[in-house]
């Protein structure tokens, strides 16, 4: 496995690992909460990148995997008494399976039609969950305080959840890299460039797209479970926030779509920027406006994003930076 020896991979994994472990050493709860959000977005953006960046299909409903996975995991924990880890994995598997079923149908659409359909999926799922009894309908579900005892009390439950997120983020990045450098990933990128030509070259596009869509659902579902477990409750409004999908797209575009590193840098920068905007009274209510403006500026002036821009500088950089 020559590609596992690539310095680019280990640099980015090491950087994320160090940043992720920092709050654990430091025992700072504020730092941990900040990092939780950043890592969560790194995972969301990187998984979305498999579809958007590698395959070229714009998914405005990516957050549905986070919400649905979150609900399934939370249900298993709060209603069925499951432990966090098996619940998160089961949520991811079910969500991935549902994504494969949905993908088979909706990926027949291309371009704007696909993008619109993904908006529909998010809204339809939200509407379904809002009326679904086992998931607590509009009020959602909450976790009894005592359930954290199993993890050594609420405080250590938070640390435990955070440590799991660090691992999940690293695995997501590893998978993103392995997909990108595999034959399957090359097929996805060929589909992104010209789907019909790709099929003439022998790529089974319907199958490849469906696998990419399903794979992009796996990690958000785990993260959804972790996030809402940490939160202690889940409701439709929090689980299916459309603007998180859009922010995910902004992060990818900012860092460089179709690259492994891009979504990491994009998430970190955007998350810091957002934190700043949220705490500045003047901009507090304008954060989505800024997200939109930022997206516009990137698309107009640096369409390949920061990492993409670097990669365009030379063939050598293109090879080294993934």
């Amino acid at each position: 496995m020559k590609r596992l020896k690539a310095p680019a991979l280990w640099t980015i994994l090491a950087a994320v690992a160090v940043a992720g472990i920092w709050p654990l050493l430091n025992r700072s709860a504020t730092l941990r909460e900040d990092m939780f959000l950043i890592l969560m977005f790194v995972t969301l953006a990187s998984s979305l990148n498999i579809l958007l960046g590698y395959t070229g299909y714009v998914n405005f409903g990516h957050i549905v995997f986070f919400g649905l996975g979150g609900y399934i995991g939370f249900y298993l924990i709060s209603q069925q008494g499951w432990h966090l880890i098996p619940a998160a994995l089961a949520a991811a598997l079910v969500t991935t399976l549902l994504a494969a079923l949905m993908g088979g149908a909706v990926l027949r659409l291309r371009g704007a039609y696909f993008a619109l359909a993904t908006l529909g999926i998010n809204e339809a799922t939200r509407a379904f969950v809002t009326n679904f009894k086992p998931f607590g309908e509009a009020t959602g579900l909450s976790l009894h305080f005592s359930r954290y005892q199993e993890y050594g009390g609420p405080a250590s439950a938070l640390w435990f959840t955070y440590a799991l997120l660090v691992i999940v983020t690293l695995v997501t990045l590893l998978v993103s890299y392995l997909v990108k450098t595999s034959k399957f990933g090359l097929g996805l990128m060929a589909i992104r460039e010209d789907e019909d030509a790709a099929m003439v070259l022998g790529i089974h596009a319907p199958r490849a797209k469906t696998i990419a869509f399903a794979l992009s659902a796996f990690f958000p579902a785990i993260v959804g479970t972790l996030f809402f477990f940490k939160n202690g409750n889940i409701e439709p409004g929090d689980a299916f926030r459309l603007h998180m999908s859009i922010e995910g797209i902004v992060m990818i575009m900012l860092g460089g779509f179709g690259t492994v590193t891009g979504p990491v840098i994009g998430s970190a920068v955007y998350e810091r920027l957002r934190g700043y905007l949220l705490t500045t009274p003047l901009f507090k209510d304008l954060q989505l406006f800024f997200a939109g403006m930022l997206l516009l500026i990137i698309i107009l002036f640096v369409p390949s994003g920061f990492i993409g821009w670097l990669r365009e500088r030379s063939a050598r950089l293109r090879e080294v930076l993934q």
Binding site: S182, K183, L186, G187, M189, A190, R192, E193, D194, D196, A197, A198, M199, V200, L201, G202, I203, H204, A205, G258, A315, R318, E319
Partner: protein
């Protein structure tokens, strides 16, 4: 060339709404042969290619490849069976490098190779078509002649039994045409059967073993270059004026670029 038939087109018809783009066309290609497919713009040549390689299913008739009916199969399955194609309107995967483009061809083509082996095949093919120095360039950055070569390289990398070449000479200057014809001949040396659409008359006459002529979707002639060139029906189809056409054929029009065919 053997007598073994590799591809059989049987009564193929393809319509677009009211337009009959390909009308009851039948012919066969023998293994190792170079078969030229000619006809005026809009005659249905590209459409016939699209039927052969699975982009369209025929409305009537069928296509048999190496003894197996392939009409109606999706294009990715046809590719796996061993038919590769160079498009008339080039379709480079722009944001991938030249090498990656050709690796796609090799990895997903007839032999379904893993990436490492596909890269080796791709290197060899790039060398063969003379694109090796450009291998790390993004495909979108190539000029037209190079993009034509890339189309060819990608198709060759698939290591097909049959290759479909759609006007690979169009838009090239005489030097580039000569180089490309050389490549075509060498492809045949490798034992690959070639079906080529070509506007550049002297070139296709020169290189083909046999020629099929389409006009308004129908096959109007088939035979050796000599037979076809002297067929009054063919000459008429081309220009409506037999004398003029004869004259042009004798001139072996170097100027006949054939690039005017704007659609695919």
């Amino acid at each position: 060339m053997t007598d073994q038939v590799i591809l059989q087109i049987e009564g193929v018809t393809k319509r677009f709404g009211g337009l009959v783009a390909v009308n009851q066309v039948s012919f066969e290609i023998r293994e190792g042969e170079i078969l030229g497919l000619i006809g005026p713009n809009g005659a249905g040549k590209t459409t016939l290619f699209n039927v052969i390689n699975g982009v369209y299913a025929p409305d009537e008739g069928r296509v048999i490849f190496r003894g197996e009916v392939i009409s109606g199969l999706p294009s990715y399955e046809v590719a796996r069976k061993g038919i590769a194609r160079a498009h008339q309107v080039v379709r480079p995967l722009n944001e991938l490098t030249v090498l990656e483009n050709v690796v796609v061809g090799a990895a997903y083509g007839r032999r379904n190779l893993p990436l490492g082996e596909a890269a080796r095949v791709a290197d060899e093919v790039l060398e063969f078509v003379g694109l090796a120095p450009k291998r790390h360039l993004l495909a979108g950055k190539l000029n037209v002649a190079e993009k034509k070569r890339l189309e060819m390289a990608r198709a060759l990398a698939a290591q097909p039994y049959l290759i479909l070449l759609d006007e690979v000479l169009a838009g090239l200057n005489p030097g580039e045409v000569a180089a490309m014809l050389d490549v075509v001949r060498q492809i045949r040396e490798r034992g690959i059967t070639i079906l080529m659409i070509e506007h550049l008359m002297h070139a296709v006459m020169n290189v083909s073993d046999r020629i099929v002529v389409l006009d308004y979707g129908s096959k109007i002639a088939m035979g050796t270059p000599q037979e076809v060139a002297n067929d009054p029906k063919v000459i008429e189809a081309y220009l409506g004026d037999p004398k003029m056409a004869q004259h042009l054929l004798e001139e072996q029009g170097e100027n006949e670029e054939g690039g005017a065919d704007g659609h695919s």
